[in-house]
Amino acid sequence: MKVPISWLKDFVNLDGISIEELAHALTMAGLEVEEIEYVGLPMPTGRQITKLSGIAWDREKIVVGEIREVLPHSNADRLVLCRLFDGQKEHTVLTGAPNLFEFKGRGELKKPLKVAYAKEGAEIYDGHQPGFQKTTLKRAKIRGVESYSMVCSEKELGISEEHEGILFLGADAKAGMLLADYMGDAVFNIAITPNIARDANIYGVAREVAALTGRKLKAMPVKVKANGPTIKGKVKIEIQEPELNPRFVLGLIKDIEIKPSPDWVQRRLRLAGMRPINNIVDATNYAMLELGEPLHAFDYDVLVERAGGKAPTIITRLTKKGEKLTTLDGIERKLDEFTVLVCDTAGSLSIAGVMGGAETEVTEKTRNVLLEGAAWNFINIRKTLSAQRFSSEAAYRFSRGVHPAMAPRGIRRSLDLMRQWSGGVVNQGLVDKYPRPEKPSVVEIGPEDARRWLGVELSAREMAAILRRSEFQVQTKGKKLMVTSPDYRLDIGEGVVGKADLMEEIARIYGYEKIAATRLRDEIPPQQSNHTLEIEERIRDLLARMGLQEIITYRLTTGEQEAQRLPVGIAPDDKPYVRLLNPISQDRVVLRKSLLASVLEIVERNASLRERIAVFELGPIFHASEAGPLPDELQRLVLAISGPRGMSNWDGAETTPFDFYDIKGMVTNLLNGLGLWDLHYEVGEHPSFHPGKCSKVMHGEQQLGVFGELHPQVQTQYDLGSHPVEAASVNLDLLYEFVPERFDSEPVPAYPPVLEDLAVVVNEGTPAGQVEMLIRQTGGKLLTGLSLFDVYRGEQIGVGKKSLAYQLTYQHPERTLTDEEVAKLRERIVKRLEQELGAQLRS
């Protein structure tokens, strides 16, 4: 909300407080000043309180000038020359301002025109450029006349976007005065959070300033000079839904003349971010900005006409099915059945609290104005606003809640402004229906509450004093305070909630910075371990140790994006996606079902920039659940590697590419690292992987994961370069169940091991895993190590054969093995391989 400092000063004396101090005090108390827009006043240098913008009027070069005569320009119709006095001497100033033309050729003006005069070298905004761009006044010759200074428009001074004519100042402006002293201003842009909706107006902010600084707040301007007859009998009110419309108030002003508001009013409205329309509309907006009560002006005569010449009855009710209304903006609106309408006996007039209808609006011809001020259920207003996709200053306030007590106040203020600005006569009294009076909340608090919630020792008297500064009524009963909320606040609850509300108020006014920081002295809760988190963190560490980079990707994607991980023609599983109701962009519409797809996207993104990629991600995938509205969130781990195994170096070290056995090694390492040794591998089947280069890793009967080389077709569906991508996907939910909490270590053998090589020739089709299994089974406990160190194919051993060379480690825990023992064991192993696999010992 925009708050001009000059307007605040109507209600609280700010002498001796700088703009920046004020902004700081408000910000610390929860009225965050998001920006200070300077309109003439000097801007601070160095450290800032908040974001600063705007312009500071040059203290020497922008002054009040007085135009004494307006002369025609000899060879330019659209320009005039002004004889201007700047307090020291006269200048001739060239201008094209149309609002000076009427003074052209009148000779010496009886009442000199007071204007803003910018001297040579002054910094102003360029009136001819779109937006606000600063420029410096330079000496120039225009149509034969020397020009070095100018009279300024509002835009040139940064007051508004108005550049049609120059700004006229009041008669109180003295030639030579610094313009910044006369009318320099600054505008706070304050973020109004829902709990301080009451402050969404100038008076509300002034009230906070008074409470925070201990200064006196001037009375709310709600007096109206009503010289007309009584309003009684001129209009009736009927409220059909008191819960949605707890109060409805009307006032009447007659014999007004529609015209522009006074200049200072227009300027103020613009500073506060509203466009001036005419004196009547401006008076409703001005009162709303000042006091926070949105108002609506009807053309009274149109209402009388619609009522057949009789006193109109204003009815508030819910929308009927299919009912429509053409609003002020010319749009015919379909209305929902929860929307409240303001109507008369002839039909609907406006959407309650949101927008007026076209037919009864104030026009040039309006002479008599009926002014509405009301209270609406703010939740219902919000529903209407979101249904109508509409916002306005009035709706902004009603949708955050305005206390019903503000309705007559707003009306009185506005009627009096209309009277002053339009020459109308206000009818005496108001028509006021208030079927659901808002009860003030009464909360009992005491010093123990401040101690318990805030950790502050305050006496009952101190607490009462703080609350009274915020206009609460406080009665003391010994150490207890009975606190009644003021009649503009809707945010104070009952009971323990009310206590919390008052604690907030006390803390804010007392000052958060005065509350001492302490350390928790409450009991520490029972400590539990977090098994899954611990495993996850171990997985991250293990994979990073293996040289993989962790990535974190979007969990939102599209079905098409994910389908890329499967060869064309292979349908994804038929599990439905978890779909967003309101996606914000086309590429993020569902929750992912495949972590592999997320990771491959990242591999693709990096593939054009580097050859070697080794990444992993740990995170959820989402499956719609049949059991309930919430999907299953399944934890997965995906690894992907591609490109040279080592980093490229200047001497051409290891650069062979990653292959299937690298990803297998990583999976094995990882699972071993987690304490899972009892694993076996089977041929795997997964549409994303090469059918001949895919394996699943099993723990007993359970499949912990699948890995392999990406299917060549999938490889080409992504832009992945020439190196095959090797990937693995692990089911973490399952893994969590099997990772042991602990394991037994083994003693380091005290006796020397016997190492022996064994090479056997087997058929090409015999899996190495089977050979290994037989060796291990036969070797039993004495065989403590087995590693394959060579696989050979070649003429020497014949076509269709392969040689597997192992190193075997024999070890007895309690003694040195004899040569005979080892030889016997070896013989048994060889015999078994010969018998079961037809293997031949290779010499």
């Binding site: 939740i379 805030l454 950790g455 502050v456 323990v496 910075e513 350390r519 809760p525 962790e550």
Partner: protein
Amino acid sequence: MLESLEKIKREALEALDSVQDEAALEGWRTTFLGRSSTLMLSLKQLGSLSAQERPKAGQAANEVKQALEAALEGRKAALSQQRLQQSLGAERLDVTLPGRTIPLGRLHPITQTMRRINAIFAEMGFQVYRSRDVETDEYNFQLLNIPRHHPARDMQDTFYIDDGTKESSVLLRTQTSPGQIHAMREFAAQDPKNPPPVRIILPGMCYRYEQVTARSEIQFTQVEGLAVGEYITFGDLKGTLTDFAQRFFNADVRTRFRASHFPFTEPSAEMDVECFVCHGAGCSVCKHTGWLEILGSGMVHPTVLRNGGYDPGRHSGFAFGMGPERLTMLRYRIEDIRYFWRNDLRFLEQF
């Protein structure tokens, strides 16, 4: 005899001077100390001398032998030293050639930040509590004192899940706060009449309906904290979070608490820390204010305590929430939040 010994010694030492390699040295040894060398022959001849001459000549011969042996060793050492020097010179590397790059695995910067946050709070007795990404409207909003159509909902634009109804009740959590209710209810269920104290932090991925820009993301991580007990005050909130800031940033960083509003806490506060780039003087990182906004916090709202199964008349607590992305961006002066999920390795490998 003595003279001839002296001569042998002189000739041998002279010859040794010109020995330049191991082979020549061996030749020298054979010539001057070998079985058939003059010296050895002389020693054998000692027996033929008279008993008077023998000891003197014997002693002299031995002295010569020892002198030659010592010279031999000396020469040997000198030669090996010389050879070492030569090879050291020949083995000289260009030490300015780059070292071999070893593939180094790293954790995502957000994981690193999360771990720091978790570790600091763990030492203060806060344990990690995790909950789901997809939540109900009830847990994400209503139980946290944010009814439907409440103005506070404006502060959090929400992705709803298509659940087949017009007003969906399933959504992507906009904050990790639903975990506060899950946790409190879980703990309170252990002993409903006398619920145990709570001290947890809740890290996780959250989502907001926002355009992706350099400053905002549709997906972001959050770490919330919650402490509930019988003696927890706003002063404790200030102290605990200041302790955190001083651990996370630096030991003498100043903090300040500004009044703010969150529907689930009251009173609420934003914590700023003094800008660690300019130390409060004002710079572009802190937008010239000298302060950096770090986290939101407040005393748990009585309604939220009650919804969690705790009696607001007896229990109190504080809660806070912070964004690891923002903390990471400030710490490493990262200008664009989109870097995090874009996962360009050139970015990730910097951490």
